[in-house]
Amino acid sequence: MEQELVTKEALQNICDTLPVGIFILDKQGTIVHINPAAKKIWGGAKDVGPSQFGEYKGWWVSSGKRIEAGQWAAARAIATGAASINEEIEIETFTGERKFILNSALPLKDADGNISGGIIVNEDITERKRSEQECAMHREILERLFSSVDLLIAYMDRDFNFLKVNRAYAEADGKNPDFYAGKNHFELYPDSENENIFRKVIATGEPYYAYSKPFVYAEHPERGVTYWDWSLQPVKEPSGKVSGIILSLVNVTGHKRTEEHLKKAAKDLTESEERLRAILNTMGNAVYMKDLGEKYLFANRSFLKTINAKEEDVIGKTVQEVFPEEMVSTIQEHDSAALKSGTTTEFEEHFTLYDGAHVFLSIRFPLKDREGNPYALCGVSTDITEIKRTEEALIKSEKSLKNAQRLAHIGGCEWDIVNNTLRVSDEVDKIVGLPKDELGDLEDFIGVVHPEDRDVLKKDIENTLYGKMPLSTTYRIIRPDGQERILYTTGEVERDEAGNPLKLGGTAQDITELKRAEAEIRKLNVELEKRVEERTNELRQAFDELAAANREIETFTYSVAHDLRSPLRLIDGFSTILIKKQKDRIDRDGMDSLERIRGAAKRMGALIDDLLNLSQVAKAEINSVDMDLSAVTSLIAIDLKKADPDRTGVFKITEGAYVRGDEKLIRMVIENLLGNAWKYTSRNKDPYIEFGLEKAKDGKNIFYVRDNGIGFDMKYARKIFEPFQRLHSSEEFPGTGVGLATVKRIINRHGGRVWAESEPGKGTTVYFTLERGQR
């Protein structure tokens, strides 16, 4: 016996520890031993003979057929002694799992060569198979990739010799894939930059990517600049050493161009969008766009301005949110009408906005997509408020014009001289009383003119045509009903370049009424004048009568005063005689009585004189002359002194007082004032009387007569100028009380003022103003 190198146990151990599944079969082929690995593979085990081998489910991988029991390699091995090695079989384990195994079976022979048993080896190649399949798939993918049209792939070794290129790569260069075998990349396409990149990839083992790298085909310059996306991948051995490089290129020229087109298109679009926006925002019309849900997608500046809203209040908001209730229904109505019609629709809209009532002409049109379905509504609104207003105004004004023509009875006419046709407005027909179009030429017109006026009219027209003056003529016409009307015609001639008359255009106005009115007015004027004359005469008469009456009164007054004188004279006369002649026969009482009588008579005389003066002053005419008041005053002063030589008294009279006034009357004033001063200083020891003048604030002269006499209480300052007002009795100082009234009247009649200032015991100053006179 051979020395057993390996004991049975050892064999058993080896068998049980081997990673492959082992089945031991006996001579009959029944499985007598199954190692753990086999159990693991099969998910169990069955000790079965060859006839039950079918319990182990398996299929031929190549054909997919089920392996029958007897077809098992083990069965064959036992039966025939055939050895099968590594038959690929797909099994289903006892747990229902599917696996792939390599099934091998060997018969065991004894020394005689008889089959003593068998051994089955199962190798679980499921993983391997899967890997294989994956590999195959990868290969498939790879092949597919390789075959791609766009992706250019070149596989090179470390030194950039082509190992494999795909069709696309070759075709891009116009060559066959076989062409490249053995060739060097940089011999074919020298490029130092690229070479460096390639070398870097080899050196670093890092892939390289580039996008849109430009490339020019040296042999195909007509292709221009092409753009490629690069991918340089290092191919590594398991050790990590880079053994080769795969260059894959994607032609992005088209993309690049497209990209550039797109960029340009985008730029153009942006530009045109900007332009459009600018246009839309500059437009005076309101432009807007709404989606089907009534939300505003766009509203130009004009739109916002019109409704006085901000962009954020409109865009994205619905019609209801933007507009007040009253307007919403109208808008929605128009919107739906526009959408329904599917084409451009026009509406006239009346809205009251924040700044008043407006009228808009609104155009709406739906925006449709490619299928013709509307997706938005666009609108353009033009504010025609002004236009409407102008329209209305125009219509009104036309109406007014027509009316005015009608009311004024004025119509227009045009005579085409060359063709002798006459065109007249309706008003003219009305004036003339003929139906429309009856007046066709000049003769027709002349025909309605009064026979007596025809020649004149014709002459006037002629003069206008050949002269320079426009036509202006009045004539009568006879209406068909016989009524005469007076017409006034103006006209102007339109001439050609040579100066020949072409047209005579003008107006014809019915002035019959006017003329009538004129005649009426003239008549009324005559009447009026007559009446005025009558009235003037009446007034004159009345005036004369009044003047006469006045004179009568004056004469009467004068006579009365005058007649009163006579008895006075007698009283005075006879009482004087009595006193003189009968002095010794009359006792003191008698004399006293007589003296009183005389005194009374004298006073009455003075009173009558003063009254006469006063009344004369009122009626007398003022004959104004230049007077030297100073001279007059001096003379009167002298008279006073002469009349009473025994009296003392100093007069101070300012020289050069010139006034303008009535000589007699002014004299009276001075006589009175000086007389008063003389009178009321009669009791003074040193009487002082002054005549002078002062300048007033307004430049007028104020004259005054001042004395240092007895004076008076200022509370009587006004009273003393009233007639018959005396402040003293006749015993104290004689006087009628009329003097100052006379002075006042005279001064007033000369347009001046007179007033007095005084202090009892100190003196009096009487001021008066008069018009300045000349030397």
Partner: protein
Amino acid sequence: MKKTIFLVEDSPDAVELTKRAMSCGKETEVVAVADGERALDYLFSTGGFSRKNPNERPDLVLLDIRLPKISGLEVLEKIRSDERTRLIPVVMLTNSKLRSDIRRSYSLGANSYIVKSVKYERFIEVLGKVCEYWLFINES
């Protein structure tokens, strides 16, 4: 020879006063009539004076204006229009200050116009002057 003053004055009191006021006493004689008609009768020796010597003319006429029947101005007119009496000095002696009377008198030919003053003493004075002048100073 005595001078004759012919006084035409309607108020007898006034006549009396005038006579008394006249200071040319002895040499003058005052004849007075109370109205214009009688004045003319006297001057022309008509009517009640038909027996008067027509050649006798007064040396001075003192004539008032306000006279009954015929006014003093009319008398004046008559005096001046008749040859016989035309040259006799006539002095208007009147109360009237009316400018119209004054003017009228002069234009009718009066030689002088005196307004009778109310004051008697003044009257005496004036009258004396008038008489003296017209009777003794003035050559008629």
